[in-house]
C-alpha cells in the first residue's frame, strides 16, 4: 500500500509519498574537482538537505563549476494553515457580465490601462484589454459593458493618473513585466504614492498584472487585485464587476432588479 498523504506535513514528492525529493542546479565560482564536488555537497547540506546526490559537475568557461543535484528535505509545512487571499470571483460569462452591467450599473464601466515606467511589454496588457483577448477569451474592449482606454507602454505614472481622471475612469489597470531589481514593485508603489499625494487613493479600483505580480503582493502594495501568468480577460472582468457592485452597494444576482444591500451600521 501507499503511505497516506498528510497535508499537515506537506513535502515535495518524487516517487514515494513523503520522500521530500528536490532537484537543484547552481554554479560555484571554482574549478570542477573532487574538492568542488564536496563543496557543493556541503553547500546543499548547509540548506538542510539530506541524501545529497551530486548528479553532475562540469566546467563552465574557466573557474566555474556547474552542478545538478538531487536531494531530500526533511522539513515540511502545514498546508492546511497556508492562507492566501484568493481572487475568488464568480465565473460569469461575458454575456452575463454585460447584462449585469446593463441592468445594474446602467452605464459602461470605464477603464484606463498602461505599462508605466520604462516597461515596453504591452503583450500582457493587450491580452486583457484588446478586442482579440487571450487564450480564446475575448478582451475587455469587446464587452459592451466596458469602455477601455489602453495607453500602451512607457507611460509616466502621472500621465496615467491624469488620463484616468480625464476619462472619469472607474478603474486603473497597471501592467508591469520587467522585474529586474524589483522595478515592478517600485513602479507599482509609485502609482499608489502618487495617488495618495493627490488624495486619490480611494478614487479608482486598482488592478495590477504581470508575470511577477501576485494577488497577495498587489494587496500588500495597496491595489485591489493582482493578476499573473495565465490571467484571462474574463477573470479581470468578473473581478472589476464585483468590485464595482460592492462599491455601489449592489449585488450581482442577475435578477433584473436592483437589490440594495442592507446598510452596514450598528445593529
Amino acid at each position: 500500500m501507499k503511505t497516506e498523504l498528510d497535508l499537515k506535513s506537506l513535502k515535495p514528492y518524487g516517487d514515494t509519498t513523503g520522500d521530500g525529493a528536490v532537484q537543484m542546479s547552481f554554479t560555484l565560482p571554482v574549478e570542477p574537482s573532487p574538492k568542488a564536488r564536496e563543496a557543493a555537497t556541503l553547500v546543499v547540506r548547509e540548506w538542510g538537505f539530506t541524501d545529497i546526490k551530486i548528479a553532475h559537475m562540469s566546467a563552465i568557461g574557466e573557474n566555474y563549476a556547474f552542478f545538478v543535484v538531487f536531494a531530500r528535505c526533511d522539513k515540511s509545512i502545514d498546508y492546511t494553515k497556508v492562507h492566501v487571499p484568493e481572487l475568488s470571483t464568480e465565473k460569469r460569462t461575458y454575456k452575463e457580465i454585460d447584462q449585469i452591467i446593463a441592468v445594474k450599473i446602467k452605464r459602461p464601466i470605464r477603464l484606463v490601462g498602461a505599462c508605466t515606467g520604462y516597461d515596453a511589454h504591452t503583450v500582457g496588457l493587450d491580452a486583457i484589454l484588446n478586442m482579440k483577448g487571450f487564450d480564446g477569451d475575448i478582451g475587455l474592449e469587446r464587452y459592451r459593458g466596458f469602455r477601455v482606454v489602453n495607453m500602451g507602454s512607457q507611460v509616466p505614472t502621472d500621465d496615467l493618473i491624469d488620463r484616468a481622471l480625464k476619462e472619469k475612469s472607474d478603474a486603473i489597470l497597471l501592467s508591469k513585466v520587467v522585474s529586474q531589481k524589483d522595478i515592478h514593485i517600485s513602479d507599482m508603489r509609485d502609482l499608489i504614492n502618487k495617488l495618495k499625494k493627490r488624495g486619490l487613493e480611494d478614487r479608482f479600483i486598482l488592478v495590477a498584472g504581470g508575470p511577477r505580480v501576485t494577488h497577495k503582493l498587489a494587496l500588500e502594495l495597496g491595489f485591489d487585485a493582482g493578476f499573473t501568468i495565465g490571467a484571462r480577460p474574463s477573470d479581470v472582468a468578473n473581478f472589476i464587476l464585483e468590485k464595482m457592485l460592492a462599491k455601489l452597494e449592489l449585488t450581482g444576482d442577475n435578477d433584473g432588479k436592483l437589490k440594495p444591500k442592507p446598510p452596514k451600521g450598528k445593529s
Partner: protein, 526 residues
C-alpha cells in the same frame, strides 16, 4: 540531385538477409523441437489455470513451480506437465481449481497418481488445452473490443508514447501511471525489480518493495491493468500496458500477461543470454512458447536489440543490431506471429558528440523502418551517453522524439532527463511526455514532407549497415548462432551454450511421447 521518399536500399540484399536468417533460425527450431524446459511446462500449467501459490519457507511459492518440481523429481516431465495434470484430473474427477487447492491444502501429489490409459489422457489433455486456448482468444477479444470502443491512439498515425514507472511499489506506480496518462502517455511499462529475471518463479501477490523496479506478478499486472482501463475510459484513449518477458520465467510471464490483458511484452532470449547470463538453450526454448502465447493473444513482442548498443559503439554496431533483428523476425514467424505484432527493437544510442551524429541516427532509424515495413518498430531513446546534466539530456530526447516522428517509428520509449541519475520521479516523466507531445504534435506528417538524397551521407550510412549485416549473417550462418554468441558477435558479450543460469531446467523431449497441444493450437511452425 535526386531525392526520394525512401533510402535507396537494395531489395535483393534485404531478401538475402531474410533467407540466411531463416537458415540460422532452423538451428533454433531444431533445439525447440527436441527440448522443453521447466519454465515452458509451468507456463502450460498457468494457461490451464494453476495460478495460486502455497506457503513455502515463508514465501509464497507458485503451484506451477511446485507441480513441475514434483514431476521433475519423479522423472515424469518428459511427457509434459499437462499430461500428468490431465491424468490427475481424470483420475480424481476434480476441476483445475479444485485440484490446485488439494495440492495446496492437502499436499496432493500428482506425480504419484497412477497413470491412466495414455490415449485417454492425451485426448483429455487436448481438451484442457483447447479450453485454455479459447479463454486466451476471449481475453484477446475483450482487449480488441476495448481498443475499438475507446479511441486507439494507433489510428493517429504517429508513434505511441511509451514511458516507464519503476517506484518498486505497485500502488505508487499506479499513481505515477495515472499522471502519465493524463499527460499524454499511450503505453505504460512497469519496470521489474532488479534481477527478477534470475528468479526461477514468478512472485505472487501485489508488491510494495523493489530495487529499481516493481516485481512482475499477476496481481500487479491486474492492478495496473484495471487502473489503465479506468483512466483510459476517462480520457477516452486506450492505454497499453507493458512488462518484461525475458529471463527464467519468460513463457510464464507471457501466460500471465495474456490472462491479464497486457498489450506489449519486452521479449527477447538474446537479452537474457547476453545481459542476464541465462543459459542460451533454456531461454531460446522458453522464448518460442512465450511467442506462441503472444501471437495468439495479440500481444506485441518488443525485441531487445537496443541493448546491444549500450555495450558497443552504436555507430559501429548497426550490423549486429540488424542481423539480430532478422533472426528475431524469423523466431517470431516460427511462432506464428504476424509482422504487425513484432515491435522490432532498436535505439538512438550513438555518442552525441560525434560530428553528424544526427544524420547517422536518422539513417539507422529510417533504414530499420524500411527493412521492416510492417513492423511497429520499438525505438529506444538515448541512455548510455546521458549524464547527470538533465538539461542536455532533455535536449537529446527532443532530437530522439523528432527522429522517431520523422522515421515513423511505431513506439517511442521516451527518454527521461534523469536517465543517468535515478528511475523517474513524477516530474521527470511529466517533462518527458510533454517534450514528446510538443514534438510529435508539432511534426505531425513530417515523414511525408522530405525526400532523402540518394547519394547523401544518410543514404550511404544506411547502405553500409545493410551490407555489413549481410556479411555478418553469412558468417553467423556458417558457424551457427550459438557459436556466434560464444564468440561475442552480439553486444560484444561472450556466452557459452552450457553456461549461464537455468541450464538444468532444460530437458529433452520426443515430440511423440510429449504432450503440449498448445504448439498446434497456437500455430507453431516448429
Amino acid at each position: 540531385m535526386a531525392y526520394s521518399a525512401t533510402l535507396p536500399l537494395n531489395a535483393r540484399k534485404i531478401a538475402r538477409c531474410r533467407e540466411i536468417a531463416s537458415s540460422i533460425g532452423d538451428v533454433v527450431a531444431e533445439l525447440v523441437h527436441t527440448n522443453s524446459t521447466v519454465g515452458t511446462e509451468r507456463a502450460v500449467l498457468r494457461l490451464l489455470g494453476f495460478n495460486d501459490a502455497l506457503q513455502w519457507e515463508g514465501l509464497l511459492f507458485p503451484t506451477s513451480n511446485f507441480l513441475v518440481d514434483q514431476l521433475k523429481a519423479a522423472n515424469r516431465l518428459n511427457e509434459g506437465a499437462l499430461y500428468w495434470v490431465a491424468n490427475a484430473l481424470l483420475s480424481t474427477g476434480l476441476s483445475v481449481g479444485e485440484l490446485e487447492q488439494r495440492v495446496i491444502k492437502e499436499g496432493l501429489e500428482i506425480a504419484k497418481i497412477e497413470p491412466l490409459e495414455s490415449a485417454k489422457v492425451v485426448k483429455f489433455a487436448g481438451n484442457l488445452a483447447k479450453d485454455s486456448f479459447k479463454r486466451l482468444l476471449q481475453y484477446r477479444k475483450t482487449r480488441a473490443q476495448l481498443r475499438r470502443k475507446l479511441k486507439d491512439p494507433i489510428t493517429e498515425k504517429r508513434p505511441l508514447k511509451y514511458v516507464i514507472v519503476a517506484t518498486g511499489n505497485i500502488f505508487e506506480d499506479v499513481t505515477q501511471a495515472r499522471a502519465a496518462v493524463r499527460d499524454g502517455a499511450d503505453a505504460i511499462a512497469v519496470i521489474r525489480s532488479t534481477a527478477q529475471s534470475l528468479l526461477d518463479y514468478v512472485p505472487q501477490g501485489t508488491t510494495t518493495e523493489g530495487f529499481g523496479g516493481t516485481y512482475a506478478t499477476q496481481a500487479n499486472f491486474r492492478l495496473m491493468r484495471q487502473a489503465l482501463d479506468e483512466i483510459g475510459a476517462e480520457e477516452n484513449r486506450y492505454i497499453r500496458l507493458t512488462n518484461y518477458c525475458s529471463g527464467l520465467c519468460m513463457s510464464e510471464i507471457a501466460a500471465l500477461a495474456a490472462i491479464e490483458g497486457l498489450d506489449f511484452l519486452l521479449n527477447d532470449a538474446m537479452y537474457g543470454i547476453l545481459f542476464r547470463d541465462i543459459n542460451p538453450r533454456r531461454t531460446l526454448i522458453d522464448q518460442h512458447f512465450s511467442r506462441l502465447i503472444c501471437g495468439v493473444s495479440d500481444i506485441w513482442i518488443m525485441t531487445g536489440e537496443d541493448n546491444y548498443m549500450k555495450t558497443t559503439d552504436a555507430k559501429e554496431s548497426g550490423d549486429q543490431v540488424l542481423a539480430s533483428q532478422f533472426i528475431n523476425e524469423v523466431a517470431a514467424l516460427n511462432a506464428g506471429m504476424t509482422h504487425n505484432q513484432m515491435s522490432i527493437g532498436h535505439a538512438m544510442e550513438m555518442d552525441p558528440s560525434y560530428e553528424k551524429v544526427i544524420l547517422y541516427e536518422i539513417a539507422r532509424a529510417q533504414m530499420t523502418r524500411q527493412i521492416f515495413p510492417k513492423c511497429p518498430l520499438k525505438y529506444m531513446c538515448n541512455t548510455k551517453y546521458k549524464t547527470g546534466d538533465i538539461f542536455t539530456s532533455h535536449a537529446i530526447d527532443t532530437v530522439f522524439n523528432l527522429i522517431g516522428s520523422l522515421t515513423q517509428q511505431g513506439v517511442i520509449l521516451l527518454g527521461m532527463p534523469t536517465e543517468a541519475v535515478h528511475t523517474p520521479w513524477l516530474q521527470d516523466r511529466s517533462l518527458s511526455i510533454r517534450n514528446a507531445n510538443y514534438i510529435v504534435n508539432g511534426s505531425l506528417g513530417i515523414s511525408e514532407e522530405f525526400g532523402y538524397r540518394s547519394d547523401g551521407v544518410i543514404a550511404k550510412f544506411a547502405q553500409k549497415v545493410l551490407d555489413d549485416a549481410l556479411k555478418l549473417l553469412e558468417k553467423i550462418d556458417r558457424m551457427g548462432l550459438l557459436k556466434a554468441i560464444e564468440k561475442g558477435y552480439f553486444a560484444d558479450v561472450r556466452r557459452t551454450i552450457e553456461g549461464g543460469k537455468g541450464a538444468t531446467g532444460v530437458f529433452p523431449v520426443e515430440r511423440k511421447g510429449y504432450t503440449n497441444p498448445f504448439f498446434d493450437l497456437m500455430g507453431s511452425k516448429i
